[in-house]
C-alpha cells in the first residue's frame, strides 16, 4: 500500500529534469517554474532553481559536497549487495532490475553510509539514493542503516540520515517489511545511550521508510517541498475519490502538522545541521 505510489509517480510528478535539445546539454528547464537554467549555474546554486527555489533531487555525492567538510567522508559497507532470494519476477526479473540500477548509479544499493566531518565535528552519515530502484528499502538498505546507527552507539557521534525513498522494496517481500523494525530497533539502542539522531527528509520519503527511521529523529528536518507521507497521494485519492489539496504531504504541511522541526533550504543545511549537532551532541562542544 505504502509503496504503491513512487512507482507510478515516477513519470508524473518526478523532478527528473527535462533536458533541452541543445548540444552539450548545458541548459535545463526547471520542473516547477519552467525557467530555462544554465546547468553550471544550477550546480553552483546547490541544484536549487534560482527563480522558484525548487529543490532538484541530487545524488549522495552532491549532498556530501554541499554539506560536509571537504573530502572528509569515509564510506563503509559499500560492498554489501542485494540478492534475489525470492526469485521475484514481474515484468522483469528482480535480478535484472538490480543490475540495471547498479549500472546506472554505480552503487550496489540505494544507500551510502559512512563517517564524515561537519564543521570539524565527527558524524555518522547515511544518504539514500532515489535513483536506485526508487530508493526502496530492502535487506541491504536495512542492514547498512542499522550498522550506521550501531556505529553511532559505539563511537557516540551523532547520526544524520538523508532519506529519499519510495518505501519498502517489494521484490524482497516480507523481508523488506522487516527492515522497518530492524532499523527502528537500532534507533532504540541509539536513544538509550543518548546519542543524537537527525533525520533529514528529502523528496520523496514515503511508505515503509517514512514509517520507520525517517520519522524518528530527535530533530526532523526537511528540504522545502519534499513529499513526505505514509500512504502516497495516489492511494489516498483512490480511497477518497477526490483530488488532494495543493501542498498536501509536502514539507511545509508536515511542519504545520507538528511532524518536522524545521524546513531548511539546501544552502542553509550545513549551518543548521552543524549547529544542532553542536548543541545536542554529548561530546563536549566548542560553541
Amino acid at each position: 500500500m505504502s509503496i504503491l505510489d513512487w512507482f507510478s509517480q515516477k513519470d508524473k510528478s518526478s523532478v527528473v529534469t527535462e533536458k533541452l535539445n541543445i548540444p552539450g546539454n548545458l541548459w535545463i528547464k526547471c520542473t516547477k517554474c519552467a525557467e530555462v537554467l544554465f546547468l553550471k549555474d544550477l550546480d553552483l546554486n546547490h541544484k536549487v532553481c534560482p527563480n522558484c527555489q525548487f529543490h532538484f533531487r541530487i545524488t549522495p555525492e552532491e549532498r556530501l559536497k554541499y554539506i560536509f567538510d571537504f573530502d572528509s567522508f569515509q564510506e563503509m559497507d559499500a560492498h554489501l549487495k542485494p540478492i534475489d532470494f525470492l526469485k521475484f519476477e514481474d515484468t522483469e526479473k528482480y535480478v535484472d532490475r538490480i543490475k540495471k540500477a547498479q549500472a546506472k548509479t554505480q552503487k550496489n544499493d540505494a544507500v551510502v553510509t559512512g563517517t564524515a566531518r561537519l564543521k570539524k565535528q565527527d558524524v555518522n552519515v547515511g544518504i539514500m539514493d532515489f535513483a536506485f530502484l526508487g530508493g526502496s528499502m530492502g535487506s541491504v538498505v536495512g542492514e547498512k542503516i542499522s550498522r550506521l546507527i550501531e556505529l553511532g552507539v559505539e563511537n557516540k557521534n551523532p547520526v544524520i540520515i538523508f532519506t529519499s525513498s519510495g518505501g519498502a522494496r517489494m521484490q524482497e517481500g516480507i523481508m523488506s517489511l522487516m527492515q522497518m523494525a530492524k532499523t527502528s530497533a537500532a534507533l532504540h539502542k541509539l536513544a538509550k545511550v543518548n546519542v543524537p539522531y537527525i533525520s533529514v527528509l528529502c523528496d520523496p520519503t514515503t511508505g515503509g521508510t517514512s514509517a520507520s527511521f525517517a520519522m524518528l529523529g530527535d530533530v526532523n528536518l526537511a528540504e522545502p517541498g519534499a513529499l513526505v507521507s505514509f500512504a502516497g497521494p495516489r492511494v489516498i485519492e483512490q480511497t477518497i475519490r477526490q483530488k488532494l489539496p495543493d501542498g498536501f504531504q509536502r514539507s511545509e504541511f508536515l511542519l504545520s502538522h507538528g511532524m518536522v522541526d524545521r524546513v531548511v533550504q539546501r544552502k542553509d543545511m550545513r549551518e543548521t545541521l552543524s549547529r544542532i549537532v553542536a548543541i545536542l551532541s554529548p561530546v563536549a562542544c566548542e560553541l
Partner: protein
C-alpha cells in the same frame, strides 16, 4: 456463511449429503452406506482442496467475513478480559482494541486489530484499518503493561494502516515508526499472532514481538497482492501471480525465519470453529508465558527481540 469459490465443490457434496439424509428420513430408505461413502469423499476432497490452496485463496480465507476477530478471541481465550480505551490525546480508535486479561495464573495485556463481520461493524471498525491514534493507544497500553510487568499478546489482522487525509495529518508514519522503536525496548515479553491479514506496516505496528505465530491460513505481506500487481504488472488481475511472488503464506513466513510457528486451524479455516481456533491459540500463549515466566532479567526480553529482528535480511557481503 459466505462461501469462497474454491469451497463450492465441497459445498455441493455436503448439500447432496443433506438431501440424501432428508430422503432417507422421509422415504424410510436406508441410505446410510451411501451417505457414509459420500461423507468420506467430502472429507477427502476438503483435505485435498485445502492442502493445495494458492496463496491468493489462502488470502481469501484470511479475509473471510466470518473469521474470528480479536475481541471474540479475547472472550474465548481468556478467563477474564476487560477492554481499555483511548490514546489519551485525541480519540479512541475502534480499529485497534486492547485490554487487560487473565489466563490461569497469568496476567496479560492484549492488543489487536479489530475487524467487523458485517457492513455496519466494518464501517465502525474502519475495516480494521487503524488511524494514528490506534497505534498510540496500543503504545499506551504496552507501556502500561511494561510498567506493571504484564506480558503482551497482540493479534494482527488488518489490510493496513488507513490511507486517509486525516491519518496523514495526524502522523500515520510517525505513529507506526514510534511503535516499532518503542516495542523494541519493552521489558516484558511480546507474543504476536497473525490471526488473519497481516497488511504491511499497519500490521507490523503492533508486531515487533519476541515470538510471532501465523495462523494456518493467515497471511503476512509487505503489500497487498492487488496493490503489488497494479504497480508491477499495471494490472490488478495479476494478483494471483503477485501473491505467489510475494511469499505471503504461513509456511513462507516461517521458512523465511520471520515467524516462529504455525497455529493449526480447523479444516476449512478458522471461521468453521472459533472455539477450536481460540483453543489452539490459547495453548501457544500458555506455553510461551509459562516459559517466559522463568526469565528473571527483564532486559533479556529486549535483547531477544533485538537480536531476532537484527538478523532479518538476506544479502551478500
Amino acid at each position: 456463511m459466505k462461501k469462497l469459490d474454491f469451497e463450492k465443490p465441497i459445498v455441493e457434496l455436503y448439500d447432496k449429503i443433506s438431501q440424501l439424509k432428508e430422503l432417507s428420513k422421509e422415504g424410510g430408505m436406508s441410505l446410510e452406506d451411501d451417505i457414509a461413502k459420500i461423507e468420506k469423499r467430502a472429507e477427502l476432497l476438503k483435505k485435498d482442496i485445502y492442502s493445495q490452496l494458492s496463496p491468493l485463496q489462502v488470502m481469501q480465507i484470511s479475509r473471510h467475513p466470518n473469521r474470528p476477530d480479536t475481541l471474540s478471541l479475547c472472550q474465548l481465550i481468556f478467563d477474564h478480559f476487560m477492554e481499555l480505551h483511548g490514546d489519551r490525546a485525541f480519540k479512541d480508535d475502534p480499529a485497534i482494541v486492547g485490554g487487560i486479561a487473565t489466563l490461569k495464573k497469568h496476567r496479560v495485556m492484549v492488543i489487536g486489530h479489530q475487524k467487523g463481520h458485517d457492513t455496519k461493524e466494518n464501517i465502525y471498525r474502519n475495516f480494521g484499518m487503524p488511524n494514528p491514534e490506534g497505534y498510540r493507544k496500543a503504545l499506551r497500553l504496552m507501556k502500561m503493561a511494561e510498567k506493571f510487568s504484564i506480558p503482551i499478546v497482540t493479534f494482527i489482522d488488518t489490510p493496513g494502516a488507513f490511507p486517509g487525509i486525516e491519518a496523514e495529518e495526524r502522523g500515520q508514519a510517525e505513529a507506526i515508526a514510534r511503535n516499532l522503536r518503542e516495542m523494541t525496548g519493552l521489558t516484558v515479553p511480546v507474543v504476536s499472532f497473525v490471526i488473519g491479514e497481516g497488511g504491511s506496516g499497519g500490521a507490523l505496528g503492533i508486531g515487533v514481538s519476541n515470538k510471532l505465530y501465523m495462523l494456518e491460513y493467515g497471511v503476512y505481506s509487505v503489500i497487498s497482492p492487488e496493490g503489488c500487481a497494479s504497480i508491477l504488472f499495471r494490472d490488478a488481475k495479476e494478483s494471483e501471480r503477485a501473491a505467489k511472488s510475494l511469499k505471503i503464506t504461513a509456511k513462507d513466513i516461517v521458512d523465511l525465519g520471520i515467524a516462529d510457528g504455525i497455529v493449526k486451524e480447523p479444516v476449512g479455516g478458522a471461521h468453521y470453529s472459533w472455539q477450536d481456533t481460540a483453543d489452539a491459540i490459547k495453548k501457544v500463549i500458555q506455553k510461551d508465558l509459562n516459559a517466559y515466566k522463568k526469565t528473571t532479567d527483564s532486559e533479556l526480553f529486549v535483547e531477544e527481540r533485538y537480536q531476532k529482528f537484527r538478523q532479518m535480511g538476506i544479502f551478500s557481503e
